[in-house]
Symmetry: C2
DNA sequence: GTCTATATAAGGATAGAC
DNA sequence: GTCTATCCTTATATAGAC
């Protein structure tokens, strides 16, 4: 007779519901501003029941952060050294922009964490993140040296791509308050703007 | 006999000490994360004494926010319609960057507030901020129409200037974790990068 | 696994002496 | 104006019944 382990199914479902609810709340309130009551309510569970699945508020938060970091770095890993430099970098920018569009809560969670000094994620920044960025910057530099990109500081180029794309998730309220868009149509204009910005910046000829 | 009002002097000094301490704490912890204990300690006062000068935690926070908003918008007001378009926009970008460099706490205070949905400043965004931005965007559009700037979306150009300059204040921990700079030398490289980015983007010829 | 009840601590704010 | 002491609410976490 096959063991179906229904408990595990329920456990998995509840853990996912909790993490999703926690993402919702933490991304808006930050770690200290969020309360277990808010998360429990959003997850459709009682507070003690929530603490049956996770040892503490901190445990929920750190699990969220570590699970997300990998996903967050995927667009950078997808850069192809053998592709066309401008296409590759524009495509990278588009992937980052797409993440701001589809996962604004995740973006705001990181923004909250980093603005507040990255107390729970600093090691990940100086470790795997720095390594990946340095590697990518070196690749960009080889493209520049081969005259396939206009000369530019690779590290700051990467920072500017982060800043401009994440802005539409992290500062969404401000953007909407100024543009007063109907729906998400302004994001198409934003993406077109960013393609122009980086195409003009990276194109090697005629500068 | 002249009334010197020494109390008022002390009051002013203490209020300023409190606001400075509050800026320090709120900019890192956000509104809910900050505690009156932290602010009182940083200001060198007792908690009840702090509440002698301000009615509540919220009163300190909102006074900080409203006092800062004006300063924060000054660089935008300084745009000269009669100046050279590219010079004016590069100079605006430099002024914004300078504010990130000199007032990173103020930048992070706003970042915290806006990332968390701008609950206490939304009216200022849709009111005076939007008005000023729309006005500036219209000015930029006239420059574009006169072929003095390369065609670009004025609103998103402004957003990108905000995003790229404030990034060095708001995400300072991440930038330093990746560059591991000695001191603030990396900010000079950042500024040079941004001048290049916007010069290439805005120059009307040869695109 | 889920609940009610509760222990325990932290934080905002006030009372009242000096 | 500044302090000590304290009230009261909120919030994290646990105990123990079911």
């Amino acid at each position: 007779m096959t063991e179906t382990r229904p408990q595990t199914r329920i456990q998995k479902k509840n853990r996912e519901a909790i993490l999703d609810a926690a993402l919702e709340v933490f991304s808006i309130e930050g770690f200290r501003g969020a309360t277990l009551d808010q998360i429990a309510t959003a997850a459709g569970l009682s507070k003690p029941n929530l603490l049956y699945y996770f040892a503490s508020k901190e445990a929920i938060y750190t699990e969220l952060l570590s699970k997300l970091l990998d996903t967050w770095l995927d667009p950078l890993r997808a850069l192809d050294p053998n592709g066309d430099p401008i296409n590759e970098l524009i495509a990278y920018m588009r992937r980052k922009f797409e993440m701001s569009r589809e996962f604004p809560r995740e973006s705001r969670l990181f923004a909250n964490e980093i603005v507040q000094g990255a107390p729970r994620i600093f090691d990940e920044i100086t470790g795997p993140l720095k390594a990946l960025v340095d590697e990518t910057a070196a690749l960009i530099q080889t493209w520049i040296d081969a005259n396939r990109l206009a000369p530019i500081d690779p590290h700051h180029l990467i920072f500017s791509i982060w800043a401009t794309t994440q802005h539409y998730a992290d500062f969404d309220v401000q953007v909407r308050g100024i543009l007063i868009p109907d729906g998400d149509s302004h994001l198409d204009a934003a993406e077109a703007f960013l393609v122009t910005l980086y195409t003009r910046t990276l194109t090697p000829v005629a500068h």
